[in-house]
Amino acid sequence: MKKMNHKNISVNVEYLTRVEGHGNIVVDVTNGVLKKCNLEIVEAPRFFEAMLRGRSIFEAQHITSRICGICACAHTLASVQAAEDALGIEPTDQTTRLRELLLDMEILDSHILHIYLLAAPDLLGVKSFVPLIDTHPKVIRRALRMKKTCNDVCDILVGRHIHPISCIAGGFTKLPHAKDLESMHSLLMGMQPDMDATVDLALQLKFPEFERETEYVGLVNDGPGYPLLTGDIGSSDGKRVHKKDYKKVTNEFIVEHSSAKYARLSRESYAVGALARTNLNFNKLCAGAKMVANAATYKPPVHNPYLNTVAQLIECVHCLDHSIGIIEYFMEHGIRQEELMLVGLNEKHNLPVKAGNGVGAVEAPRGTLYHNYETDDQGIIKNANCIIPTAQNINNIEHDMKSLVPGILDKTEQEITLALEMLVRAYDPCISCSAHFLDVRFEGQ
């Protein structure tokens, strides 16, 4: 204990690796006292909200999809929802189901990438997936195969996974035919054995023990399904607000050390993402996903942020099951090709245009994502606001770090750094998205 009291620790991780985007971790412990514990977002800001001003609402999906290469489909879905809300367009039942399928693929693809390529190397004690190619070839091949399957389904559904082509405000510019439905069905059914193997592998992984209860936020609704595409915004502290009132939830503020904006609701910080969603809506998961949770002794409410990776695994099982269900629905009922849309910049006035203020709120892989556009009567964007899941999580991650560090001061600087890196990676941060985030810098040596 004596040694601990006088300890000086300086963690300085510049450009944290195996996360999407650029961020630093800076920790300064002087004489055993935690002086500084920050997650710095150093991503070059890209100013999407400012650039949208003056552009057509019908260009918003194409542009905002480019905010993030990993969650391009989630940005697309939030964008088209916001645009339709502003224009007063109600999506058809078919459009909604196809969008749910797209979001299932997005979450599955992103979670697989995170579990296998970004998180697993830490748990297996290597620096990246590259050494695993030689030591665990079957595992790496499986990961790449599963990821490719999600991509192949997206290729059929929307042209490609990264920056989807045919999912636009109003509906779809290309719709799957019977043979496309069969191809997607066969691809996803073929993924089942790999999913079973993924569950077996993930159940063997040991996660660090650490608990800090926080407020968990995500979409909630009164329907029977696990809410990902639509709903109100709910929290574990009992808040429930309409998506139009998202600013009452996010309450953004700026801090000097970060180009991301910070968020808080009922307490000093809140968390979004797979762990938050399973805490809020566990009972709505499919039976297979609940069985996996049971096998992992994962019993919500869960307060260990490292277990976000387990929550992701549970959601993978759910999304695969759910997506197959959607495709089977269409195999039975058929696709109404007459709903095909041709919009462009709405030159032919196929969609009604009016002044409006619309909000889109969807569950991206990393948590609730908001897009908000205000348009004039010509459909030109006057104001735009995009609030990204990681931006909401950063404040919560810092509070986790501050809670974690004092308890592990007896460990080496290297061990502390790894524990912090793993913590941040568990949130699967998407920094280029939040562009408004990671490298660990230990200061003050």
Partner: protein, 251 residues
């Protein structure tokens, strides 16, 4: 045979083009087998402190810090490959150059905007010499393989300097202009196999303009279909705003 040392670096971008690599599936292992991948921050913690044979650059240059960083990478690299629209033509980041930089910083970050320095968006070749270009937002995987093969063999890669329309016709799509909406296919570099139009959307010009765009023909089309010039110019600015900086260099 010593495998070439290859590194990926990212600047201002969505990192989607890097992910296009992960999306190769098991074929990725064949690519990794033919090179020595020494740095790739998004998926690797390993770092390399010597020279690179090929540096693959994703993203645009948008801060003074990035200007210095790309120059250092250039100094340590035999070959620089600009990878994806943000790197090759500035891409969507270029839209920023339509605005007063102080105004956009203030719009996004409010009174504390001064914490967020930014400069005019530049494509990579507008700061350092570039040896190979892979266009597209995102990059078209078959083209990336062709360019990478050329770079590994040390031979030039010729980007087709014809319009997207050429590939679009071969794919038997009905022309968007005939369907009543505007499309940038006539002035945009081919090589993507008219990806977006095949899926019912329009061309947004993400691959950059052909060297000699058929301006008169484009004007005829604009007149024939009664399209406002302002609308088309704005469309050009979505990906191609940074070309102004090339013109400044020439003059």
């Amino acid at each position: 045979m010593i495998k070439p040392k290859v590194a990926f670096f990212d600047f201002a971008c969505c990192e989607g083009c890097q992910l296009q690599v992960a999306n190769f599936g098991e074929r990725l292992l064949d690519i990794i087998g033919s090179i020595d991948l020494v740095e790739f921050r998004e998926v690797m913690s390993e770092k390399w402190d010597k020279n690179y044979d090929i540096s693959i650059i994703e993203g645009s240059i948008t801060t003074e810090h990035a200007m210095e960083r790309i120059k250092k990478i250039r100094d340590r690299s035999k070959i620089i490959m600009a990878y994806g629209s943000c790197a090759t033509i500035g891409g969507v980041n270029g839209m920023k150059n339509n605005f007063d930089l102080e105004d956009i910083r203030r719009y996004v970050y409010g009174k504390d905007y001064a914490f967020y320095p930014t400069i005019k968006t530049r494509a990579v070749h507008q700061v350092v010499d570039v040896d190979y270009f892979v266009n597209g937002c995102p990059v078209y995987q078959p083209e990336f393989i062709e360019v990478l093969k050329s770079a590994l063999l040390g031979i030039p890669y010729h980007i087709p300097d014809k319009a997207v329309c050429v590939e679009c016709k071969l794919n038997e799509n009905v022309c968007m202009y005939d369907r009543g909406i505007t499309c940038l296919g006539p002035v945009t570099k081919a090589g993507c196999n008219s990806w977006c139009i095949n899926h019912g959307n329009i061309c947004y010009g993400c691959r950059g303009m052909v060297t000699n765009p058929a301006e008169n023909a484009m004007k005829d089309v604009i007149e024939m279909y009664h399209i406002s010039l302002d609308l088309v110019m704005k469309k050009m600015d979505m990906y191609n705003k940074c070309r102004e900086l090339d013109e400044e260099d020439e003059s």
